[in-house]
């Protein structure tokens, strides 16, 4: 596969990751577009041995660091004003549990959410995630532990809640 085809193939995953972090469609696609433009600019100088997917996620991460807070602030504000992107189509099976899962995801600190998404959803290796985020691999592992335990607690709390109310 040519590099350009690899980039093209990664676009849906970049959109998914951007959206998972921003939860706002236009802002997410803006970020993806900026990422692709930057990737095209640097593509000719890319070493043959570079793994394209982690490289793209790295560009997106670096771009987002400066714009992230601003985008997220705007995203939050818009969500309050209008309607946030529905996490899942309402009629989809298991929609409620998924909505709750995504709500739990959103409650995680950003640095934990990034690691959890890159590892579980994007299927990147731990060392790749460390490279993308620019942190040691040990930091990736400890963030992953905290993210997983917190999300578990969130989901289990949700299950127990109705029982407590019955009492």
């Amino acid at each position: 596969m040519s590099i350009i085809a690899e980039v093209e193939a990664a676009v849906p995953a970049l959109r998914r990751y951007a959206w998972s972090l921003l939860r706002q469609r236009d802002g997410a696609d803006d970020l993806v577009q900026d990422t692709l433009e930057r990737a095209l600019l640097h593509l000719p100088r890319l070493g043959a041995e570079t793994a394209v997917r982690p490289w793209l996620f790295t560009i997106m991460h670096n771009l987002s660091v400066s714009r992230w807070r601003q985008l997220r602030r705007r995203a939050r504000w818009m969500v309050q004003q209008e309607d946030r992107d529905a996490p899942v189509p309402a009629e989809q099976e298991g929609g409620l549990a998924r909505r709750d899962l995504l709500a739990g995801l959103e409650l995680l600190p950003e640095e934990q959410r990034q690691v959890l998404l890159l590892v579980t959803v994007e299927g990147l290796e731990y060392r790749e995630v460390a490279g993308i985020l620019g942190v040691p691999i040990g930091t990736v592992m400890s963030r992953l532990s905290r993210a997983r335990d917190r999300l578990r607690a969130h989901m289990e709390g949700r299950e127990r809640e109705p029982l407590r109310r019955v009492k």
């Binding site: 959109r15 993806v32 692709l36």
Partner: protein, 256 residues
């Protein structure tokens, strides 16, 4: 080597959930989980949550990609944005060249005119060559001796190449260019992120000293000056915090 007595670490649990263990270690982790129900519950929950996350976000992956994220379209836009820039710059250089040939050249107060032409030629060279991976650099940095020879011939004296490593830029190479009054040398540098910077030098015909002044041609910005009958410019794409400092260093140190 796998050791059955090696304790199961937190990292192993994650690698187990993410399917990144070799079969031997996986069996060891499974044995440990079988002995420890609390651990097993934790890992089972992690694995279920990973699966659910993938499913919950799968619909984003299945969506058609909007046209504005099409790579062919972005490539076209990129080319369309670039082309008019350097074509215009080249046209201006050409027009100045014709003016000179026609004998009604800009004689006036030589300084500003010369530095304006120098700036435009340097910016044009930057736009055409700095980002071009295949032809941007004619001689790469490994052949430093050749570059020194070139630059020395351009300048008519022995020179050394500016060292920008304190600013995080390394030399990629250089090329010879023909400018209005003779040869020019362009050196191409890059920082760790691949951002290009060019140093362009040329002996000036009149060579009236001109103080350093900013240059801005489309996305290319930097500084140009004329000193000791040598015109020099330092240019980069976009904003570079240290560009002015680099220009000062090159001007003041100027062995080139």
């Amino acid at each position: 080597m796998s050791d059955p007595n090696r304790p199961v670490l937190e990292d192993d649990l994650h690698a187990y959930v993410d399917g990144r263990l070799d079969p031997a270690r996986q069996a060891e982790v499974e044995a440990a989980l079988a002995r420890n129900p609390a651990l097993r519950a934790r890992v089972t929950a992690w694995r279920a949550q990973a699966q659910e996350l993938r499913e919950a976000l799968a619909f984003r992956l299945a969506e058609p990609v909007p046209a504005r994220l099409s790579l062919s379209r972005l490539t076209e836009q990129r080319l369309a944005r670039r082309r008019p820039g350097w074509q215009m710059a080249a046209a201006v250089v050409l027009a100045l060249g014709l003016g000179a040939a026609g004998g009604w050249t800009l004689r006036g107060p030589g300084g500003p005119t010369e530095i304006a032409r120098l700036s435009m030629e340097a910016a044009s060279a930057h736009l055409v060559f700095a980002e071009d991976p295949a032809h941007g650099v004619e001689v790469n940095a490994a052949d430093r001796a050749v570059l020194v020879q070139w630059a020395s011939r351009t300048m008519g004296r022995k020179v050394t190449l500016p060292d920008l490593s304190p600013f995080g830029y390394r030399l990629l190479g250089g090329r010879m260019l023909s400018a209005m009054y003779g040869p020019a040398t362009m050196l191409v540098y890059a920082d760790a992120a691949g951002n290009r910077l060019t140093v362009y030098v040329q002996p000036m015909k009149r060579g009236e000293p001109a103080p350093m002044r900013p240059v801005l041609v489309r996305s290319v910005g930097g500084y140009a000056w004329i000193k000791n009958k040598v015109g020099c410019s330092v240019l980069a794409d976009g904003e570079t915090a240290t560009l002015h400092a680099m220009a000062n260093t090159i001007r003041d140190g100027l062995e080139l």
